[in-house]
Amino acid sequence: MVAVQPPRCAVLHTPAWPITAAILHEPETFGPAQPLAVFHAQRVLSCSPVAWREGVRPGQRRRQAQGACPHLVIVPYNSDRDARMYEPLVQSIGTLVPLIDVENPGSLLLATRGPSRYVGGDDALAVRLLTLAREGLSHTSHGLDTDEVITAGGGLGVGIADGRIAATLAARSSSRRGEPVVIQPGVQATAEFLAPYAVKVLTAVAGCSPDLVDLLERLGLRQLGDIARLSVTDLVGRFGAIGESLHRLASGTDDTPPSTIPPPPDLMMARVFDDPLSQLDMLVFAAKALTDELGGYFHERGQVCTRVQVDAESEHGESSQRVWYHAEGMRSTTLLDRVRWQLDGWINGAEPPTAGITLLRLTPMDIRSDAGTQAGFWGGRSEADDNATRAITRVIGLLGPQSVTVASWRGGRDPREVYEMMCFADIGSADSGGVGRQLVLRPDDDANATEWPGALPAPAPAVVHHEPLLIEVIDAYGRGVAVNGRGLVSAAPATLVQHGRSRRIVAWAGPWPVDERWWDQRARRAARFQLVIEQPDGQCAYLAEVAAGKWWLTAEYS
């Protein structure tokens, strides 16, 4: 494999940016000295160093975190706030470097070739970046000690190395040490720097799935160096396409996959507003059309966009330009999030545009083929499932949640109660993490026979009346047929009368008495019959029951 020298990058990283953003946003509510933790989906997303010392760790459940630290202050999760508060910092860096990749609020990346030469070397650049970031933060920290705010967010780290992965890891270690980390250029130095890192870092840095990391650990590949020592062929043989990207990540040779396709030079989506828009909502709505179209364009080609440049221009010529990167590739919704973050930070930030926005432009910069959503071979979600779920959600919106149901096996003696109808909206699907109730599709065959003695044997009726119909059954002499307490029939049923219409019974079976739930309110005591009627268009079979001297038609074998 040809070792490609990746571009030299600098990464500025704040480990617990949501905490810093919360302190800057609401200084009177959240203080830097308090133990703070941001929760998302009931788990700790990030926590301040004070909370860390008390035993709070990212990934913990809320109950565990509060157990470790009872006076923990819970910060609500708000990605918009995080992005907006990050903007001044980015703008401050922007005075030195024009083009900045914001991976997510809290972490930004820039190419160092030009800036390094300008300020006089990588070390000088690292110091300069820290100063600029500190300045940017001090603009927004109204009266707060900037150092305290930075410490509460886990420190500021700057790492400079070859390639995105190495630079990010350097920045992470820099934020712990409190001084910039600069890795010497060269493939060898980068590989040596990466080798001792645990495989786990790949989840945080490169977006690898925890399952993959777990598998690697069980295979005995605990450090990045272990993976880098293996041959690419073996990794591809074992893991497929992921194997190759794993090797690239671990050896730090190149973090942009070789499958990256340079986008067509003129691929760009733009929208010009004749009436300048100054409200964020309207801008985001307009942007949605753009991102949808761009997302659809990539989707049609089986590609994803990993890096996109978003430009916005105001009527007075002010502009906001930002590059967004997402390792797993951006779809229309993730793309729209980035656009919203950028516009929100600009319009509601420290230096808002003085006039309405007239131009919005999206320029894809890196495209790669979409390998992320292979449909399952057995099980998994198919396109039909997604279409159906969408359609059903729409119907629920129109008719209400009660009106769309699915059947779930519950068991019972009566055809009406064997399957329970559950609201579709309540059912937890596999990818929602098991939230909601689970669907029971079919009982075990053994359980079916043994669990419900007294249930009617197969076949089951095809039409079940949930509200039984009142009928009369009379014998050959015109007297009503009754069932006594011992479950004996008074006479053979001969005629079925329904709505005043009489029909001859040609065959019948029963009674099968059932005495259920005699211990509570839902007690049911009845005797069941199967009745076959002769009609001009063929035979017709019914399931009827006698309860309290009355005959009810409960089901039809239609």
Binding site: L399, Y419, A458, Q535, A541
Partner: protein, 254 residues
């Protein structure tokens, strides 16, 4: 507000998504016991016979079982089914026949709302949303009867463009409804077996299926057990050999 495409994006962006499908993609599978009706050999497990876009009317004394039998093969091969306006549908019978319940949703009758004015609009929105999402849509005859002729025609056009199949259960009122079914599946009960005068229990039913319609040159007939003694669907011919002299065991009840 005007949209200016700064660059010339490829033409395909503006092209509609649907392309001309292959012939076999225009077909949905049917249960193997129904294959002879369509003039196919019954050796195949899920013969492709049901043309997408068609409307099938299931009528006769065994209409409900017959309609459920149509659902079996599509739901087993990954298609979704919607059952509209049939709260009395026997779910256990459907499950026994082999309908995949995890891909079957039951929707309340959209035409029987209390809001009389917006009923038709609601029904149109609900049915068109369902047609977009599911491959087989089972409609009760009273739902079809309460739709206006223009709405019904639009629904059928939409089913054709989306490649679904509309199954109507029961006889629709020919005076008020303008339903023109492509296929008409008449299921007539011939005989119930297993029950006598005071003994036994219903075990299986012989049903004569007749398929005709404006898309068929002639009427085809086939005898099936619907349901057979396990609640499933099977051809009478293929089971005669095993059934001669075979005593179906009685199970104790109650």
């Amino acid at each position: 507000m005007s949209q200016v495409r700064v660059s010339s994006l490829p033409h395909s962006l503006s092209r509609p998504l649907s392309e001309t499908p292959l012939a076999r993609e225009r077909l949905l599978p049917v249960h193997q016991a129904l294959a002879p009706l369509f003039g196919l050999a019954s050796g195949d497990l899920a013969p492709l016979a049901l043309t997408r876009g068609h409307t099938v009317a299931c009528v006769g004394s065994a209409a409900m079982s017959c309609a459920l039998a149509v659902l079996v093969a599509p739901t087993q091969t990954g298609s979704w089914a919607g059952v509209v306006g049939l709260p009395s549908c026997g779910v256990q019978a459907a499950a026994d026949l082999g309908v995949c319940l995890e891909r079957t949703v039951f929707v309340a009758d959209p035409t029987s709302g209390s809001r009389a004015s917006s009923q038709q609009a609601d029904a149109a929105a609900v049915l068109s949303a369902l047609v977009d999402g599911v491959d087989v849509l089972l409609l009760a005859h009273h739902v079809v009867n309460s739709l206006s002729p223009s709405l019904l025609r639009r629904l059928q056009t939409r089913v054709q463009s989306r490649g679904g199949v509309l199954v109507v259960v029961g006889e629709t009122n020919s005076l008020t409804s303008s339903l023109s079914a492509d296929l008409r599946l008449t299921a007539t009960t011939q005989q119930w077996q297993g029950v006598g005068l005071g003994y036994g229990h219903l075990q299986r039913r012989q049903v004569l299926l007749q398929l005709d319609g404006r898309r068929r040159a002639r009427t085809t007939e086939h005898r099936v057990w619907l349901p057979d003694h396990q609640g499933q669907l099977s051809s009478v011919e293929t089971t005669t050999a095993e059934n001669t002299g075979v005593v179906i065991p009685l199970r104790r009840v109650g």
